[in-house]
């Protein structure tokens, strides 16, 4: 097949926009819910800061177990299966099961548990002594979560976020198969299905550059935040 070089920039630009839209939408929800889930996972663990919600250790244990189970379920489903399973959900939320906005739904659902586990790891790294010091100063739970746990874990959370974004860009290629579009979709449609080596190479280069840039930005942010 002869490569139509002149069409390439427009095709790639649109694909980039689609990837950006998919990952962007999914990222916003992933940050919000991933942080929340991560905090609740750590907090409701035995001895955690919210291990006794409403003075009930049992409620804390139940929340911890259920949430942990859900996160594991989310992590154990292959993305392509999750995507198919979530078609009705996308349709209900976005009104369509095709397109990059619709593809953001399974992307979000897959990324939340992934990021939540990374947030959990980051929060567990925070020295228990800091929580104790905050308690000794009379801090509320909200203050401890916001100003001690999340504030101290910021560098690790940013690193976790960059890992999540890169995974999401990966997944977005698969989302192309249900009409999500994006860079990965171009690689599959032009590069794989039409055997267009130039498209394959160009898209791969773009993906590599994106991942490098994400990692570089994350590294710079972490350096600024990290005072340990």
């Amino acid at each position: 097949m002869i490569t139509d070089w002149s069409a390439m920039p427009a095709i790639l630009l649109q694909a980039l926009a689609e990837t950006g839209q998919m990952v962007g939408i999914a990222l916003v929800f992933t940050i919000v819910f991933g942080l929340a889930v991560g905090v609740v996972l750590v907090g409701t663990d035995t001895g955690g800061i919210i291990s006794e919600p409403f003075r009930s250790p049992r409620l804390g244990a139940v929340i911890h177990a259920v949430l942990g189970f859900l996160v594991n379920v989310g992590r154990s489903l292959p993305f392509i299966i999750l995507m198919v399973l979530l078609i009705p959900v996308s349709r209900a939320i976005v009104g369509s099961s095709i397109g990059s906005v619709a593809a953001a739904v399974p992307l979000t659902v897959a990324a939340i548990p992934f990021f939540a586990r990374l947030v959990e790891i980051a929060l567990r790294e925070v020295d228990e002594g800091l929580v104790e010091a905050a308690k000794s100063l009379g801090a509320r739970r909200g203050t401890i979560i916001g100003k001690v746990l999340l504030a101290e874990a910021r560098p690790a959370i940013v690193l976790g976020l960059s890992t999540s974004v890169i995974s999401m860009i990966n997944y977005s290629a698969i989302a192309g198969t249900i009409g999500g579009g994006g860079i990965g979709d171009i690689a599959i449609r032009y590069g794989y299905q039409r055997y267009s080596i130039p498209y394959l190479v160009v898209t791969i280069i773009i993906l590599i550059v994106i991942v490098q840039v994400v990692q570089l930005i994350a590294g710079a942010v972490v350096r600024r935040l990290n005072h340990r």
């Binding site: 010091a133 009379g138 504030a151």
Partner: protein, 348 residues
């Protein structure tokens, strides 16, 4: 200021066949207003549990703790938080927030109590000046030495003007010189601010340098407690023996071994020389220690007097009459070692 009575802390067994751990078994302790009170004991004795019960970082199993007349265990969550504003705490590993500057760390407690930004700034500057760290306000904890970190910890604990300071092994991870400077600071703050200090430590040096009173904790029980000078005048006091270790030397068999304790003016007198001259006996010094405790020069000395106790009753009486505290460890009868142990036990 702090009244602890019949305090028990039992950790429930986590595994099926292990029995519950009784960390504290009936603690009674009173810390007077404005006093520096030290609780000493080996690791595992329950010191840490004890101090953490005072501000309810650990909830006591039973018993009561009154801080400034208030029973913290009976307060609501909000009431407890408010009460904690009046109780500062410092830690062995400082527990400073790495993401905040020195100034922001000091302001943390004030943020919690809702002090406006401008007032927080002023107070932080003031207290940092007091602990001698005014020039490091914008540094991060990782850029500070251990001693400086503990000064920040102290500044943070005191920013909200608490009446009580709890110190959980605050100098245990510092080198001796830095320990001295931190202890000096605590002593100054105790005097300047009228701060009541309850500290736990495994270092006798800390008790010796700054404590007015001390208690010895062993396996969850207080085995000895009181004013330091009084403890030094108590026969068989483990704390005073630990404060002034005199070694194991017990002299020759058949001789009398005594220990004398002297404080204040008496410490200036040439006791041994006088004794020797007055009674014409050869006094042998087996061990001696002179220290400044709570501003008073005190010392302990172990002396060996020739002959058994009967022959030495006159010199011993003479020493006692001159105001010295004298403990006869070995009366000079056959087995000196076992007898001295019995005497010690009887004394305790």
């Amino acid at each position: 200021m702090i009244e602890i009575s019949d305090l028990y802390k039992v950790y429930p067994d986590r595994r099926a066949n292990s029995s519950p751990v009784e960390a504290l078994r009936g603690i009674d302790l009173t810390v007077k207003r404005g006093e520096i009170f030290g609780v000493v004991g080996q690791s595992g004795a329950g010191k840490s549990t004890l101090i953490r019960c005072v501000n309810l970082l650990e909830r006591p199993t039973s018993g009561s703790i009154l801080v400034d007349g208030q029973d913290l265990a009976k307060l609501s969550d909000g009431g407890l938080r408010a009460a904690r504003h009046g109780i500062g705490m410092i830690f062995q590993h400082f527990n400073l927030l790495a993401s905040r500057t020195v100034q922001q760390n000091v302001e943390f407690g004030l943020e919690i109590t809702g002090v406006p930004r401008a007032a927080r700034r002023t107070r932080a500057a003031e207290i940092l000046d007091l602990v001698g760290l005014a020039d490091r306000a914008s540094a991060f904890p990782s850029q500070l030495s251990g001693g400086q970190k503990q000064r920040v910890g102290i500044a943070r604990a005191l920013a909200g003007n608490p009446k009580v300071l709890l110190s959980d092994e605050a100098t245990s991870s510092l080198d001796p010189e830095t320990t001295d400077s931190i202890l000096e600071l605590v002593k100054d703050l105790n005097v300047q601010l009228g701060l009541t200090v309850l500290l736990i430590t495994h270092e006798m040096e800390v008790v010796k340098r700054i404590c007015h009173s001390a208690a010895l904790l062993e396996a969850g029980r207080i085995v000895e407690s009181g004013n330091i000078i009084d403890l030094l005048n108590t026969a068989g006091s483990k704390i005073s023996h630990a404060l002034f270790p005199l070694g194991e030397s017990m002299g020759a068999q058949g001789n009398t071994v005594i220990e004398i304790m002297y404080a204040g003016q008496l410490a200036e007198e040439p006791i041994v020389a006088k004794l020797s001259r007055e009674f014409g006996i050869d006094v042998n010094i087996l061990g001696a220690a002179v220290e400044v405790v709570g501003g008073t020069r005190v010392g302990r000395m172990r002396l060996e007097l020739p002959g058994n106790a009967d022959r030495n009753s006159a010199p011993i009486t003479r020493l006692r009459d001159s105001g010295l505290f004298v403990e006869v460890l070995s009366a000079g009868v056959l087995c000196a070692g076992s007898l001295s142990a019995e005497v010690r036990e009887a004394g305790a």
